[in-house]
């Protein structure tokens, strides 16, 4: 029954759907939920999935690859360059420090130096997947400590490449060749390998810069969303494959592609497309880690295993704290970095497999380490929970909340959806007033043009929650809906209201009928798209007739205010029953109101600065005076 794919999918999904909300409820975070779900359906729980489901793990690892692509998308090259000191210094020190210390411990315990070094290097890795997911969930990624954590993880991802290269050299016993599947390029001599690696990296950067954007634009022009999604997936999978061929970490390759595309207009759309896949696959990854923990092994030597877990966590934690403090973290930040990164990561599984197949570690050693690694990962969400619940409140007091840590969101306060004739004018007006705007539009060519003008413009369907989120709807203040398709406007209003109720909506509508609908729906800032122009033209006509500028202006203003008020009044009576009689009555009311507007302006404008009544009174008094004079 295990090889029924649908059934398997059902089990994994069911586990996730059941466990994650539960974990959330208990305040534990999604990652722990997935891990527990894995244990529950694993060989030592309900035994619903086969043990050692390598395929699942492989598929799941792709979640990590996608995650790094998404992280890359968030990191502009300039930002990455700014982080170089942290990545090389902080990360390098952590890796070397941990590896050295762990190796020494291993040697002290009686291991040979080669397996000891291998073990050290493997243990130096932390779990990008768990940590970043947890930090993102807790909203800590952008804090100072979060950035340090990220730098270290990035350094580790990069370090995987040389470690993969070095591991086989540490072999103590020969293994039958073929067990370690050497990939295409790995069979080449060293310098050629290096060349291939460089070429691959160059290809990613070059293609990202010059090839991908035109391709995306062409795809965008088809207006087929699923093709765009397919292209995005194709990109990620393709890069992962390329990286495998040259023996690099696929995660690193996609990360690079992400960074290259971070500046592009398709960033938000790509994010929105890949995000759900990443989420699912990453969940799968955590589940399979949970399912993969060999509790039998743990049960046989519980003391050793638990001792190892605690020892590894403590050792890594110490090194991390020391390194962080050396690089001038505060006490609290240092503790946080240590807590977040003290587990061993998913790369360890890969490295352990390689170490076993290339004869660096024995099956027993690597088996035990796999259990240790998995348990340490399981411990991470718990440790983070403990940190935020018990440790942090105590640290927070003296260190006085450091608001500057939360990097003020880089997002603009206004999102303009639809950048056609209306939207672009609004956008320019706002920009001229120094208001930052993020523009969303479905026309790739237009977006391209806007970006060349230096505007923050992104391709995509604004009614998608992911895209809105990526464009910063959570922190924006105003959403301007300037699309010309009213059905799109309505959908967008629905999404925005449900998910971002704080956003003020400024809405373009074609005409009165649509205005009624929205006004009845409680949207107040509704603007009929032709009214402004019509009024301007009316002004010009009055001027051409020789009206004084000020009079013409006031006439237009008075008319407009009255007309606008009329729309609101009629909206109230238009109701939602669409019966014919009612519609007809509404039309009559509208006509009446339109006619009333004609008279209105005349009547009201005439009273402005009018002195006829003054004159009349003055004249009658003059007559009176004259009459009085005459009687004298």
């Amino acid at each position: 029954m295990h090889d029924n794919v649908l059934l398997q999918a059902f089990i994994y999904l069911a586990a996730a759907v059941a466990a994650v909300p539960l974990a959330r409820r208990l305040g534990m975070g999604a990652v722990l939920g997935y891990l527990l779900a894995g244990i529950a359906i694993g060989p030592f729980g309900l035994h619903l999935v086969p043990d050692g489901s390598e395929d699942v793990l492989h598929a799941a690892e792709f979640g990590v690859v996608m995650m790094l692509f998404l992280i890359g998308l968030e990191l502009r090259p300039s930002m990455l360059w700014r982080m170089r000191v942290a990545v090389l210094g902080l990360g390098g020190a952590q890796i070397l420090g941990t590896a050295a210390l762990a190796a020494i411990m291993a040697i002290v315990v009686g291991s040979g130096w080669k397996p000891a070094v291998a073990t050290g290097l493997i243990l130096a890795m932390s779990s990008t997947a768990i940590v970043l997911q947890s930090l993102a969930e807790a909203g800590r990624l952008r804090t100072d400590a979060g950035q340090r954590v990220f730098s270290i993880l990035l350094a580790q991802d990069i370090a995987v490449i040389p470690i993969l290269a070095v591991l086989p050299l540490l072999a103590t016993h020969a293994v039958s060749s073929g067990a370690g599947e050497a990939h295409g390029v790995a069979t080449l001599p060293g310098w050629q390998q290096a060349l291939a690696v460089l070429a691959a990296v160059g290809a990613i950067v070059g293609a990202g810069r010059y090839l991908l954007r035109p391709v995306f634009r062409a795809i965008a022009r088809t207006h087929l969303r699923e093709v765009f999604t397919a292209t995005a997936l194709l990109l990620v999978v393709g890069i992962a494959l390329l990286m495998q061929v040259v023996g690099l970490s696929p995660a690193l390759g996609t990360f690079l592609a992400g960074v290259v595309l971070a500046d592009s207009e398709y960033r938000h759309e790509l994010e929105g497309d890949i995000e759900p896949f990443k989420g699912l696959l990453l969940g799968l990854f955590f589940i399979s880690v949970g399912a993969g923990i060999d509790f039998l092994l743990v049960a046989r030597t519980p003391g050793t295993i638990l001792g190892l877990v605690v020892g590894v966590l403590a050792l890594k934690g110490l090194v991390l704290y020391a390194v962080a403090r050396t690089f001038r973290s505060t006490h609290a930040d240092g503790l946080f970095v240590a807590t977040a990164l003290c587990q061993v990561g998913e790369f360890a599984f890969v490295l352990l497999a390689l170490a076993r197949t290339s004869g660096v570690l024995t099956d027993g050693e690597s088996g035990r380490l796999v259990a240790v690694v998995a348990l340490s990962m399981l411990a991470t969400p718990l440790l983070l929970l403990a940190y935020t619940r018990f440790l942090e409140p105590r640290l927070a007091a003296p260190a006085v909340a450091r608001p500057a840590d939360e990097v003020a969101d880089a997002h603009a306060p206004v999102i303009v959806a639809g950048f056609g004739r209306v939207g672009s004018t609004i956008g320019r007006l706002l920009r001229a007033s120094g208001v930052g705007t993020t523009v969303l539009d479905l026309d790739g060519d237009r977006i391209e043009l806007l970006r060349r003008l230096g505007l923050e413009a992104y391709y995509g369907d604004a009614t998608r929650l992911e895209l809105l989120t990526a464009a910063g709807a959570a922190t924006a203040k105003v959403l301007v809906l300037a699309v010309d398709d009213f059905s799109v406007t309505q959908r967008l209003i629905e999404v925005a209201r449900r998910h971002f109720p704080h956003l003020a909506l400024v809405v373009r509508v074609p005409d009165r009928a649509e205005a009624y609908v929205l006004i009845n729906d409680g949207v107040t800032d509704v603007h009929r798209e032709t009214t402004g122009t019509a009024c301007d033209m009316g002004f010009a006509t009055l001027r051409a007739l020789g009206y004084r500028a000020f009079q013409a202006r006031r006439a237009v203003q008075a008319f407009r205010a009255h007309d606008e008020q009329g729309v609101r009044v009629l909206a109230g009576s238009s109701g939602d029953e669409a019966s014919y009689v009612r519609a007809a009555r509404a039309r009559i009311a509208e006509t009446e109101q339109l006619i009333a507007a004609l008279d209105f302006v005349d009547r009201h404008f005439d009273l402005a600065w009018d002195n006829t009544t003054l004159r009349d009174e003055a004249e009658s008094r003059a007559e009176l005076d004259a009459a009085i004079d005459a009687t004298r």
Partner: protein
Amino acid sequence: MPRVLVLFAHPAYEKSRLNRRLLQAIRGLDDVTIHDLYEAYPDFQIDVAAEQARLVAHDVIVVQHPFYWYSAPALAKEYLDLVLEHGFAYGSTGHALDGKVLLNATTTGGPEAAYQVGGRNRYTMRQLLAPFDQTAYLCRMRYLAPFVVHGALRLDPDTGCTEAQRQYRSLVVALRDGALDLDRAAAAERINDLVGGA
């Protein structure tokens, strides 16, 4: 030759009887610029730089307006607020208007008798126009007595203001030609009397 700028402010010119005629009386004079503020700035978007240049290019500035609520219509005030910038018109570096001449030319509904201490309007025209006087003073300009046509509401629509028109015209011409005794003009209660006999 001094050059005269008439800043005209009437929000309902199409209904004006008196100011319209006064304006007609000075149309077409050489070296007299008539600048219709409500026509130029119906949105109150005054072009400050252009207006400053205009002020600099003239020597005598006449603010002509109907008397509304014992002052000038809103745009005339807006003009002063925006154009007489610190550093341009006043302050240690603001000397652009030094020595220029400023006066109001205005029409009131109320009769002359009302604009007296003890009268219905309780203050004289000069007292009511004190803000303009002081504004000129701060800008180191010479403020002259106002040109006033009282009883605007009772004027005969056809003939009633020919005298006022004639007076206004000779005032503007005298200002342009430098033919007016400025010391007397500054000290008078109304400038009309100084040109009346001329």
